[in-house]
């Protein structure tokens, strides 16, 4: 079946790229490595475009099985590929943005000695990510799910000589594993109650009522736990800011555009299940809103350009989950797309900046860069506008849709969302103003080296800037009477929603839009006043006080986790080893031995060596025996 092989190639090519680069990369020229790796992502992109066009033109989703993974009793899991509307969008996103980031990396990583390893990891990541979105069952998704975790681990800890980076990588992996536990157990529920893990069969069974609401709640909450890990939601978000230890393109690809949105994908994929459990949705909405607000608040006081972006990512992911929580699955995906464009753009832009200043990431030591690197400046500005929700940039559309949906559900959620996006606008422009305006505040040495990035790096910036600008038009609010292309395309997947939500009245909608835009502009204005007009530059970390200090220190969540989880675990481990294992359990064993030896000492002391004693003992024994018989016989 050649057509299947073609789709198989989507997955296979990145894997092949991984193997070639991993095994032979050292011997190949750097350019070859980069080009090969990029091609291995680009070709799938082209293939998926054809699938996309098929689907757009009303073609059937592609679904086929490769082979049986395992079958035990009536439980069976196959390796299956499913390319439907949802997958196709995700694959396009992954391969498309992935390709751009590969290209960007060719230039960005030029100097690194482990160039080929880097690209092999990237390809590996793409491979797993594609498995994640193309599998036709949960276990397949889980393969990708864990696989991207692995790739993320490898890439965060790419510079493994630095132990801080390693810690960050380890933290990311372990936190993800906490989520994976939820995913795994959630799968058990699905497997047991629906008898399968294949999406279509699961949905079929769910529609037939395979799960009572309580079960659906348990299952969905467990799956959501998985999603919080991968998508950095409260309470499992702390790894993402630390994950910025990896090379910047990695942050763009994995920790902004693709991997972290896997949680959204998963919830979307399981929308039927989640719709069966309204309580879970409420929890998701609340968690999403809280995450959005919290991360935005932390973002206000960060001075590391990548950290700011990281927190903004967490915050945006929170918004996506807010959308999921209010049942607006396709809206969440819409934001995934736009976010991928502008956040990848921002990260790559920041990478460009970091590249220019020689690796420094602190915005307090930047400034005035717009004249040195205009392309970066413009694209970064576009990204910032998009994330701030300024029309007509893409972020506006998706964010507006989310907020409208939230408003419909619960005004408090909406308010939180608005608050978060206002903060977002503020801190993004704080970054823009501090980085690109004013005078350069770094060292002379750095100043002399400031330069615009090479074309290979600018090309992705430009492409992404275009996407960030125009991407929003695939989902135009209904009040403008244009078709919402995305929603229509995704309609077959969102079986769960059943009845489309009622649209808000036009007036309300206009008011909401106005508030969002107004809020964004106000925030930008404040930032302008603070950082351009007053030329404020944030001081040293130590100088912070009050709320700012708390925000700068991420409200001490890491410390909190350290105190209530990490330390107790370590302490308990020591205790178990030293007290329970060595003293108690082994002590019992050793004491048995010692008691035996002691008994030996006592017993052998009756061997006194004195003949008279021996004879006496024998005589007494004989007396005893005879006495026994006398008593027994009479």
């Amino acid at each position: 079946m050649p057509i299947q092989n073609l789709y198989l190639a989507i997955i296979a090519l990145p894997l092949i790229g991984f193997f070639i680069n991993a095994l032979l990369g050292k011997k190949m020229s750097k350019n070859l490595v980069g080009i090969l790796a990029s091609l291995m992502v680009f070709v799938p992109f082209v293939i998926i475009l054809s699938a996309f066009s098929d689907l757009v033109n009303g073609g059937e989703p592609i679904h086929f099985q490769l082979f049986n993974w395992f079958t035990v009793a009536h439980y069976s899991v196959d390796f299956g590929i499913q390319i439907d509307q949802l997958s196709v969008i995700m694959v396009m996103l992954i391969t498309g943005v992935g390709f751009l980031i590969h290209v960007y990396s060719i230039a960005y990583m030029k100097e690194d000695e482990n160039y080929s390893r880097y690209f092999s990891y990237l390809n590996l990541f793409i491979f797993f990510m594609l498995i994640l979105v193309m599998s036709d069952n949960y276990l397949g998704m889980f393969i990708g799910w864990e696989g991207v975790g692995l790739a993320s681990y490898l890439l965060i800890g790419f510079w493994f000589k630095n132990d801080e980076y390693n810690n960050a990588a380890k933290k990311a992996f372990i936190m993800n594993r906490v989520g994976d536990l939820g995913f795994l157990v959630g799968m058990f529920f699905l497997f047991y109650y629906t008898g399968s893990l294949e999406y279509s069969k699961v949905n079929e069974a769910l529609q037939l009522g395979a799960m009572i609401p309580a079960l659906a709640f348990a299952t969905s909450i467990l799956l959501f736990l998985g999603a919080t890990g991968k998508s950095a939601q409260i309470p499992l978000f702390t790894w993402l800011p630390d994950a910025m230890a990896g090379p910047t393109p990695v942050s763009a690809l994995i920790h902004a555009a693709t991997m972290v949105t896997a949680g959204v994908y998963m919830v979307f994929r399981s929308n039927l299940l989640f719709s069966l459990a309204p309580q879970t949705l409420e929890i998701i909405a609340i968690v999403g809103a809280a995450t959005a607000l919290y991360a935005a608040a932390v973002g206000l006081a960060q001075n590391d350009i990548k950290k700011v972006l990281a927190y903004s990512t967490v915050s945006q992911l929170g918004l996506m989950f807010l959308a999921l929580g209010v049942g607006a699955y396709s809206t969440a995906l819409f934001h995934v797309l736009t976010h991928a464009f502008f956040k990848a753009l921002l990260f790559l832009g920041s990478g460009s900046v970091i590249h220019a200043v020689g690796g420094d990431q602190d915005i307090r030591r930047m400034g005035g860069l717009k004249k040195y690197m205009p392309i970066t400046f413009i694209t970064f500005l576009i990204g910032s506008l998009a994330i701030s929700g300024v029309p007509p940039f893409s972020g506006f559309f998706s964010k507006d849709e989310i907020l409208a949906m939230a408003f419909q559900k619960n005004i408090a959620l909406w308010a939180v969302g608005v608050g978060a996006s206002m903060m977002t606008a503020f801190y993004m422009f704080r970054v823009v103003f501090l980085t690109f305006f004013g005078e350069f505040r770094g060292t002379e040495e750095q100043k002399n080296q400031l330069h615009e990035s090479p074309a290979l790096m600018n090309f992705p910036l430009i492409v992404l800037a275009i996407l960030a600008t125009l991407g929003g038009f695939i989902g135009i609010p209904h009040i403008f009477n244009a078709p919402h292309l995305l929603n229509e395309f995704l309609a077959p997947i969102t079986i769960a929603v059943g009845v489309a939500p009622e649209h808000l009245s036009a007036t309300t909608e206009y008011i909401l839009i106005a508030i969002v835009i107004g809020g964004a502009l106000i925030s930008i204005g404040i930032a302008y006043v603070m950082y351009i007009s007053k030329r404020n530059v944030p001081g040293k970390d130590a100088s912070y006080t009050g709320v700012t200090k708390w925000a700068n220190n991420k409200f001490y969540v890491d410390e909190f986790y350290d105190a209530i989880i990490v330390r107790p675990v370590q302490w308990t481990s020591d205790f178990l080893f030293k007290a329970v294992d060595k003293v108690l359990i082994d002590g019992v064993v050793n004491t048995t031995g010692r008691i035996s030896l002691l008994t030996g000492d006592i017993v052998r002391s009756i061997q006194t060596g004195q003949t008279a004693f021996y004879i006496l003992a024998m005589v007494l024994s004989v007396c005893f025996i005879l006495g026994y018989f006398l008593i027994g016989i009479k």
Binding site: R604, T611, I615, L630
Partner: protein, 458 residues
């Protein structure tokens, strides 16, 4: 019967050869004759169930098998005496004669058909062993061992004699079959039981079953090692053979009443012997206590067969005796080159003399009951019979104390595995040591692998 005569003549011949100045040949001729005799014995007397000389000697398969075992083991041990008594060559014929006479006593003990034969057999064996135990005249330990053994042995002879007398008083005969008949018909009055008990006690003493075992560790420790080897193999096997014959024929109707006590003694033996051995530092003494603990198993083999079958007893005895021959051979070698048998003297043996050390390890494994060696099969059979006889708790005690026993057997093994700086003390052992140990090892393996040819013969 021919076997006993030939053995007796062999002993006398040895003394004659001494006169004829053929000392060097005595040892070799004696042991070869004995080993040959063990084969001859089986070939010519197997399947004969008969009594000789007015029932003084009773031959059956059981007797033949035990005789051959005793002959074989004695043959192997006497082989060593050439080396062992090297410094006293002029007395070698005396030693060998004493060994052979002791063997005659042992043979009488298991072929008796009359208590007189048993009594004389026991005394021949004992008297020879008293002398042999004390035979290292300059060693205080040997003196002490000989004296202790003699005192207690003579004392127990009184009990034995009293027991025989009382049985005679009740039954009017010394013939085991007549006693059997008389006792089956008679009641278990105190007079009968006191006779039975005293006989049993005397046999338990010879077999070193607790609480009549006290002599064994001390005497084994003090005696010259070759004598210890002889005592712990030939004497013990003979004692158990005699005990079985006595219990299963003469006392069969009354021994059932002693059975609870015997079980108690078995348990005591396991407990005392195994725990006492734990902290010993002399290898000989460890083996002495091990011998006592195996006496428990041997007695258990007799009890668990309901005094009706000696298959397990023979198998166990053979496994035990052969393993002991190997172990003592190595101990003799080591105490020869190191002048003592302390555990520390064994350090480095594995690296210096791997052949001997491996044989020793195998024999200790067999004693510890680790498959697939004969010792394991023996324990397996005995435990099986024990549980079949509804003595599950005894089996469990046996198992638990066996676990304890592993500790002291392994103390020896571990000692041998120490690496030492200077292993020159371990001079090349005479070939005969190596040959004997490996003959033993092969026997152990054969017994272990194809037990079906040795178990259930009678």
């Amino acid at each position: 019967m021919g076997t006993i005569i030939i053995t007796t003549v062999l002993g006398l011949l040895g003394m004659v050869m001494d006169i004829l100045n053929l000392r060097r040949a005595i040892v070799i001729i004696s042991s070869l004759v004995l080993i040959g005799l063990s084969v001859f014995n089986v070939v010519s007397y197997w399947g004969i169930n008969a009594s000789f000389y007015s029932g003084m000697i009773v031959l059956d398969n059981f007797t033949v098998a035990f005789s051959s075992l005793l002959l074989l083991i004695s043959g192997l041990l006497i082989f060593l005496s050439n080396q062992f008594f090297k410094r006293e060559e002029e007395k070698i014929s005396d030693y060998v004669a004493l060994f052979v006479f002791a063997l005659v006593g042992a043979l009488l003990m298991i072929s008796f058909g009359n208590l007189a034969t048993l009594f004389i057999g026991i005394e021949i064996l004992s008297v020879s062993l008293y002398v042999l135990a004390a035979s290292n005249r300059k060693s205080l330990a040997s003196n002490e061992a000989g004296m202790k053994y003699f005192l207690m042995g003579a004392f127990i002879t009184g009990f034995l004699l009293l027991g025989i007398t009382l049985i005679y008083g009740v039954t009017g005969s010394f013939d085991i079959y007549e006693i059997q008949n008389a006792l089956v018909l008679g009641q278990s009055t105190p007079l009968v039981m006191i006779g039975v008990v005293l006989l049993v006690v005397a046999m338990l003493f010879k077999a070193s079953v607790a609480p009549f075992h006290f002599w064994a560790p001390d005497v084994y420790t003090g005696s010259p090692t070759l004598v210890t080897a002889f005592m712990s193999t030939v004497a013990k096997v003979a004692a158990f053979g005699a005990m079985y014959k006595l219990f299963s024929i003469a006392l069969i109707s009354k021994i059932i009443e002693v059975e609870p006590l015997l079980v108690l003694f078995v348990i005591m033996t396991f407990f005392i012997a195994n725990f006492s051995a734990l902290k010993q530092t002399s290898v000989k003494r460890i083996l002495a206590f091990s011998g006592v603990s195996h006496a428990g198993f041997l007695l258990l083999a007799i009890i668990s067969s309901n005094f009706g079958s000696a298959g397990n007893l023979f198998y166990y005895a053979a496994a035990y005796a052969i393993a002991n021959v190997i172990a003592f051979t190595v101990v003799i070698y080591v105490s020869h080159v190191k002048a003592n048998d302390h555990l520390d003297s064994f350090k480095g043996l594995l690296y210096a003399r791997p052949g001997l050390a491996i044989a020793m390890i195998i024999s200790l494994f067999s004693l510890a009951g680790i498959p697939p060696l004969a010792g394991f099969v023996g324990k397996f059979l005995v435990l099986m019979a024990t549980i079949k006889a509804q003595y599950t708790y005894v089996a469990i005690i046996a198992i638990i104390t066996s676990i304890v026993s592993i500790y002291y057997y392994f103390k020896i093994i571990i000692s041998m595995t120490h690496r030492v700086e200077d292993s020159t003390a371990f001079v090349r052992p005479p070939t005969v040591y190596t040959v004997i140990t490996w003959i033993g090892v092969i026997l152990l393996l054969v017994l272990g692998f194809v037990p079906k040819y040795f178990v259930g013969l009678f």
